[in-house]
Each structure stands twice: as structure tokens, then as C-alpha cells.
């Protein structure tokens, strides 16, 4: 058995660190934070609980910020210079997924952008970015935003994800407004009297919510939620297996500066007006890829046997030619077998295409399959 012992020096803590320890979490370093990878029940039980009931995830390590301009159009136009999504067309109380792009159209990070529901907050956009990228992202934004825009980091805020088919019942008990929300909508509201922003979104493929509140109040919200019979705390291990089955990208693995949104099969997140007008970094390349098809594409890959194919696994065509690599791979508890995603040359990207995975020197049969592995169950 090989093992790695990791020092936990200088790791940051979220406001729920003590709660994780009290709940029996195994803590690991992640993006500079000490985070729960699993609790006593283990990753498979946590994964299955989230698909059957409700999982509570501490995602307070993620980067939150407010972009503030004179009005929505001012803030939206400034952000649109850096991302390919239609932000101008975002209605109050609506959220969109997009990517910060470099000049070549490579992905610097992926993020959620929310226009607050409250008219008093006109001109504000709420951003949630990846923990490992937040310092770079905020520096990137600060350096490129015009002088009439302010970027306010919200490091004093915490973030919870409440995910699973019973999330609507659970969250509505504390915030009745949550029941009527549609997928990718957001409200400025109260949870048991505590001020918060709630969006109906997540990273598991299940229905659910993300709750942003002041760090000083997050423990109260987390404990109320954990007091509900349907809710269990879920660690990063199950968060990863849930998002992989849902076909969702993990930054630094499935997407990075070497991949464009079109290659990453994220073209759905580039709305019509932006495709037509351009005006975002890398627009020439991205519009060309949209028109002609990218050279390679992110696809789902289903190994035929039981052996998981991990990140970095070489993908070969049936004739033995190397055609790409696995970018995320592991065991899918809901699928009850190995699942993977990776990039393959476009001519091999059609679902049903047989491919070969090279795992520990052995060739294993696999197939290109449509994503997600587990159907999304969002509240439409």
C-alpha cells in the first residue's frame, strides 16, 4: 500500500471547519483550504444519499464577489468583454453559467453570474468562481474592468449547497419563497430570518439550492438544515462523483486555458447574440469552432469492465491510434460502475464509437457515450 501524508500547515478554514470535525469528517487539503473529503458514512453512501434525499455541502471556499456598476447595462457590458455568455439579457433574479476566457479563447475559469432579484440592487452582478482560481480571477477582472465598475470581493460571505430531490421540501420549511423558484433563478431573501441570496442551482445534476450568507451566520443555517431528517453533510469526494455522473466540468481537470468552451462541449452556454456579435476574448477562434466544429471535443466515456480509468488515461481509437486523454474518471455509485470524461478527436466523438483505454499498460474496451451519465433532475 502506498500512502501520502500531507501537512496541513497554513491551510485556510471555512466558517464551518469546527462543524465538519464535530461531524466526523476526514479533512484534506483542497485549493488552499482544509476541507471535508468525506464523513463517517463514506463517499458512496454520501453520493447515494444526495441522489435519494438531500446532501449539504460546504462550498464556502469558493470565491464570491459583487461586480457593481451604475446600472445593469453598464455592469453587463463590462463583464461581457471577458466572458462569452449573454449577461445583458439576464433578467432580474436569473443566473447563468459562463467562462472567463483568455485572448486565445482558452478557459481561465468557469463561474456563475447572477443578476439579483431586488430592484434596489440594479447594476450588481454576483459572481461565484472556483476556490483554486479566485485570486487569479479577481486580479484578472480588476485589471480589465473599466473605471466605472467596482469589483467587491465577498470574502466575508459563506456558501452552502443543498442538493437532492427533497431539497425543495427542506429549504421551503425555512424559506417559503424557495418552493416557487425555477432552475437557475435567484432571490434575495431570508432563511429563518437570516439575510441570504438563494439560487436554485448546483453541481450534482439534482434539484437543489445554493445559499450565500454572511460567514458569521452560516453555522446557524447549516445546523438548521442538518437538523432536518432528510439532510446529511456531504464531502468533496461525493461532490466529485456526483458532478462526474452529471457530466459537469471540474476546472483544472476537464477545462483549463488549453481548452475552449466549444471543445469542452459548453457551446450551449454561449447565447445567440454573443455568437453573432462576438466581442469576447478569443471570439475569432470560438466562432470558427462553432461554425466548423472543433478539432477535439469533450465526451463521456464508459469503460466496459469494472476497472476505473483515471485522469490522464490515454484514449486510443479501435485501430490503436492515440486520439485523446481522460480528464476525469472514477467510479460512479449511481451508475454502479466506472465512468469517465475526456477529449477525443472530433471524428471519434459520436456516441457509440468504440475506443480503447490504456490502464496500467493494458488495453480496456470502452465506448463514447452521451453526457450526462445520470439524467439531470433540475426543477424546470
Amino acid at each position: 500500500m502506498s500512502e501520502t501524508k500531507t501537512l496541513s500547515l497554513q491551510l485556510l478554514h471555512t466558517p464551518l471547519h469546527a462543524l465538519h470535525l464535530a461531524r466526523g469528517a476526514r479533512m484534506v487539503p483542497f485549493a488552499g483550504y482544509e476541507m471535508p473529503v468525506q464523513y463517517a458514512d463514506g463517499i458512496i453512501a454520501e453520493h447515494n444519499h444526495t441522489r435519494a434525499a438531500v446532501g449539504l455541502f460546504d462550498v464556502s471556499h469558493m470565491g464570491q464577489a459583487f461586480l457593481v456598476g451604475a446600472d445593469h447595462a453598464t455592469a453587463a457590458r463590462a463583464l461581457e468583454a471577458l466572458v462569452p455568455a449573454d449577461i445583458l439579457g439576464l433578467a432580474p433574479g436569473r443566473q447563468r453559467y459562463t467562462q472567463l476566457l483568455d485572448e486565445e479563447g482558452g478557459i481561465l475559469d468557469d463561474l456563475m453570474v447572477t443578476r439579483p432579484s431586488d430592484p434596489d440592487e440594479d447594476g450588481v452582478l454576483m459572481l461565484v468562481v472556483n476556490a483554486a482560481r479566485k485570486e487569479d480571477d479577481f486580479a484578472h477582472l480588476a485589471a480589465r474592468l473599466p473605471g466605472n465598475l467596482r469589483l467587491l470581493r465577498a470574502d466575508h460571505r459563506a456558501l452552502l449547497a443543498v442538493q437532492g430531490p427533497k431539497a425543495v421540501q427542506v429549504v421551503s420549511r425555512h424559506c417559503p419563497e424557495a418552493a416557487a423558484m425555477g432552475f437557475m433563478s435567484a432571490v434575495t431573501t431570508r432563511f429563518d430570518g437570516i439575510d441570504c441570496h438563494i439560487s436554485r442551482s448546483g453541481y450534482t445534476g439534482e434539484d437543489g439550492y445554493e445559499i450565500s450568507c454572511k460567514a458569521t451566520r452560516v453555522r446557524a443555517i447549516a445546523e438548521r438544515l442538518l437538523g432536518e431528517p432528510e439532510v446529511k453533510p456531504i464531502g468533496l469526494g461525493a461532490r466529485d462523483s456526483l458532478r462526474l455522473e452529471a457530466g459537469l466540468c471540474l476546472y483544472g481537470h476537464d477545462i483549463d486555458a488549453s481548452t475552449s468552451p466549444v471543445e469542452a462541449a459548453l457551446a450551449w452556454s454561449i447565447q445567440k447574440r454573443r455568437r453573432e456579435e462576438g466581442g469576447f476574448p478569443g471570439a475569432a477562434r470560438i466562432r470558427r469552432e462553432l461554425a466548423e466544429g472543433p478539432a477535439r471535443l469533450r465526451v463521456g466515456i464508459k469503460p466496459e469492465g469494472r476497472a476505473p480509468a483515471r485522469e490522464g488515461t490515454e484514449i486510443r481509437a479501435a485501430d490503436g491510434t492515440a486520439i485523446g486523454r481522460v480528464t476525469s474518471g472514477g467510479f460512479g455509485p449511481t451508475v454502479e460502475g466506472p465512468v469517465a470524461m475526456g477529449y477525443v478527436a472530433r471524428e471519434h466523438s459520436a456516441p457509440g464509437t468504440p475506443v480503447v483505454l490504456v490502464v496500467r499498460g493494458k488495453e480496456l474496451a470502452a465506448q463514447v457515450v452521451p453526457l450526462p451519465f445520470v439524467p439531470h433532475r433540475y426543477a424546470r
Partner: protein, 124 residues
């Protein structure tokens, strides 16, 4: 003969001229849910400390090293369909492979159950 343990958390138990090899209960608890075990071919010869098998949890793959050298004379086929047996009974039904030992003296530097227990306590 009682089990002997390695610092890499394998166990080996000699029964006549054949030794049974697996991973310790502590190892399975650290790995978490085991989802796949790759076992060697029967007839393969392994030397002490060489990779003999691979155990995969949801998160990662880990090598299992041979506690002593010898010929693989049996593998636990039941793990193919039920890898979670390693979590349920790591030092019993969750065994990995059987070795015909090349040199029984290679077990001399391994830990006794009490020594291993102390070793694990020192890791906490």
C-alpha cells in the same frame, strides 16, 4: 502462524507452504469504499516489495506490494464481483492473493500484530 504486517499496510499469513496476502483493516478504513481490485495472474512470480495488485477506492488507485517473494498460486476471484468485501472483512474474506513463498526468511523483518497496532497508533 499469526499474521505479519508491512509498513505499507499489507498482511501475510503463512499456512503450510502457502501464504495468504491482503491489506490491513486500517488500510481499508483509510482508503474508503473499495470499488475495484486488480489481481495478478496465477503463475506470476513477484519479489518482496514489488507491486502485486492494485486496489481502487472511489478517489484513487493504490498499489499493493508483495510482503514476501514467491509465485502467485491463487487469487480471490470473489473480489471481482464484490470489491466491497475488502471494506467489510479486509483481514479475512477480503484477502487478495496466495503466494508460494520463495524464502520464508523474508517474513522475519515484518511486524507482529502488536507491533503493527503500535505502528498504526504512531501514524495518528
Amino acid at each position: 502462524m499469526a499474521k505479519r504486517y508491512t509498513k505499507d499496510h499489507e498482511w501475510i499469513e503463512v499456512d503450510g507452504d502457502v501464504a495468504v496476502v491482503g491489506i490491513s483493516d486500517y488500510a481499508q478504513s483509510q482508503l474508503g469504499d473499495v470499488v475495484y481490485v486488480e489481481l495478478p495472474e496465477v503463475g506470476k512470480t513477484v519479489s518482496k516489495g514489488a507491486e502485486a495488485a492494485v486496489v481502487e477506492s472511489v478517489k484513487a488507485a493504490s498499489e499493493v506490494y508483495a510482503p514476501a517473494g514467491g509465485e502467485v498460486v491463487g487469487v480471490n476471484e470473489a473480489l471481482g464481483g464484490a470489491p466491497a468485501t475488502v471494506n467489510e472483512d479486509a483481514e479475512g474474506k477480503g484477502w487478495f492473493l496466495k503466494l508460494k513463498l520463495a524464502n520464508a526468511a523474508e517474513l522475519d523483518d515484518l511486524m507482529s500484530p502488536d507491533q503493527y497496532k503500535e505502528f498504526v497508533a504512531s501514524l495518528a
